[in-house]
């Protein structure tokens, strides 16, 4: 059994070192981003104050897709190279990603009410984003649906890979179909088309969301490794 957790043990040492850095950068970046975004940046000439929802909505939406991509990569690594850490990382990411997705949906709906006059429309981007939330939930459900946890890991890894088809659809849905949702204005080929006074707080928040994710991820991975160890010790105890 030891060989399986040789790597995680080394990982635990590194994680202990990195974790406080992540915590502090999250606090500082989010503080700065929120200050710039909510207080010092201008209100939009079209959208008024409600534009400030953007500073949460857009990073959350990015993170939702980023987390799923990360899960797909980890799942692939876990399936092909059987790296235990990759499986644990995928499993630990899922709830965080689901929360980001929910946050993006929720803030989007909040924003939609003043902008489009309705909480929800069934257009391609919103729909594919909702599908993403269900994919996260399906992953979590499948990973926990087996008596043998390693079975759950393998089955759900395959699911993530199949569901990854959805990510490019979210990203490019606004280009393929004309919808209510506006197309990309930050991440695109010919540079961002957004004013610097809005771009900076947005980018700060995006980085803050990222460090927050890494922070939580480290905590969750550590917890998962410890839980695994406990389970194995307990099994050893009862089986002698």
């Amino acid at each position: 059994m030891l060989h399986r957790f040789a790597n995680p043990t080394r990982f635990l040492r590194i994680a202990t070192l990195v974790q406080p850095w992540m915590a502090w950068s999250t606090i500082l970046l989010a503080g700065a981003g929120l200050y710039l975004g909510l207080l010092s940046s201008p209100a939009d000439y079209q959208q008024g104050e409600s534009v400030r929802i953007m500073y949460v909505h857009v990073p959350a939406a990015w993170m939702a897709m980023f987390c799923y991509t990360g899960m797909a990569v980890s799942a692939g690594v876990g399936l092909i190279w059987k790296h235990p850490l990759a499986d644990i990382a995928a499993k630990a990411t899922a709830p965080v990603g689901a929360c980001f997705t929910f946050l993006a949906l929720f803030t989007g709906a909040l924003w939609g009410k003043p902008m489009w006059g309705t909480w929800w429309v069934w257009d391609a981007r919103l729909t594919s984003m909702l599908v993403l939330l269900f994919l996260y939930l399906g992953y979590i459900a499948l990973a926990n649906a087996f008596d043998d946890p390693s079975r759950g890991t393998r089955a759900s890894s395959i699911l993530v890979l199949v569901g990854f088809v959805n990510v490019p659809i979210i990203k490019f849905s606004v280009d393929w179909w004309n919808t209510l949702h506006q197309p990309a204005s930050v991440i695109k080929m010919d540079g961002p088309s957004i004013d610097a006074s809005m771009l900076w707080p947005l980018l700060l928040m995006a980085v803050a969301f990222n460090t927050y994710y890494l922070w939580v991820l480290l905590i969750r991975i550590r917890a998962e490794i410890v839980a695994n160890k406990i389970r194995i010790l307990r099994l050893k105890q009862v089986h002698g």
Binding site: D147, L235, V238
Partner: protein
């Protein structure tokens, strides 16, 4: 002293008569071993005795009273071990056994009884392991522990030694002997040798009952 007997039993399965005109009678402390080639109707007869299967005709009676009249009372006085082990994968071994015991003991000391029964079959150390982690033989032992955890006078065992190792078969034989000394009855179907004291053999090839002394079955 209680008597369990069947008269002129006919069993029909899948529109085919498996056996007809079968008689048997068993007294307290007795043992009946069913032998016969594959498909001769041993499992069918055991299910019939338990009340799971209804005979096409003929009567089964306990102390002269027909068992079909009060199926709950009959269920309460027997233990049946079939091909399935009824072990829940998410419950621990002791929870599995004590649930069955609690249905009969009224829940009182079910837990202690379960632990004692598991010890008797040599899996006391697995008490807190979930059922999903067990091998074929370990599951069978849990199933056998169930019949020890709550007393009942009549045991119906369908090939109980399946998947068991030598040691556990010996433990089972000892358990059966104790049960009979206490006035219990047992009906067993088996293809392999089991060491029992004075028992009757019912050969399903010709429905004859032979009395056997201190020899080996089958």
């Amino acid at each position: 002293m209680s008597v369990f007997s069947g008269k002129n039993l006919i069993c029909v399965r899948g529109e085919r008569t498996v056996f007809a005109g079968l008689d048997f009678s068993l007294e307290a402390g007795g043992a009946l071993v069913l032998i016969g080639h594959n498909g001769s109707g041993k499992s069918s007869l055991l299910r019939l005795m338990s009340g799971l299967l209804k005979p096409a005709s003929g009567t089964l009676s306990w102390d002269g009273e027909e068992t079909g009249e009060d199926p709950e009372a009959h269920g309460g006085r027997l233990h049946y071990v079939g091909h399935h082990d009824a072990v829940k994968p998410v419950l621990s071994v002791v929870e599995n056994v004590s649930f069955w015991a609690s249905l009969r003991n009224g829940g009182a000391a079910a837990n202690e009884a379960a632990r004692a029964a598991l010890d008797a079959f040599g899996i006391g150390h697995l008490c807190d392991v979930p059922g999903r982690f067990l091998s074929a033989g370990q599951k069978r032992r849990v199933n056998l522990a169930r019949i020890l955890a709550a007393p009942a006078p009549l045991w119906l065992l369908d090939e109980p030694t399946t998947a068991l190792d030598r040691q556990t078969i010996a433990a089972l034989e000892a358990t059966i002997a104790r049960h009979r000394t206490g006035g219990g009855m047992v009906v067993i179907s088996t293809h392999s040798d089991m060491e029992l004291d004075a028992f009757q053999v019912l050969d399903l090839a010709d429905y004859t009952v032979r009395q056997t002394g201190l020899e080996q079955a089958s």
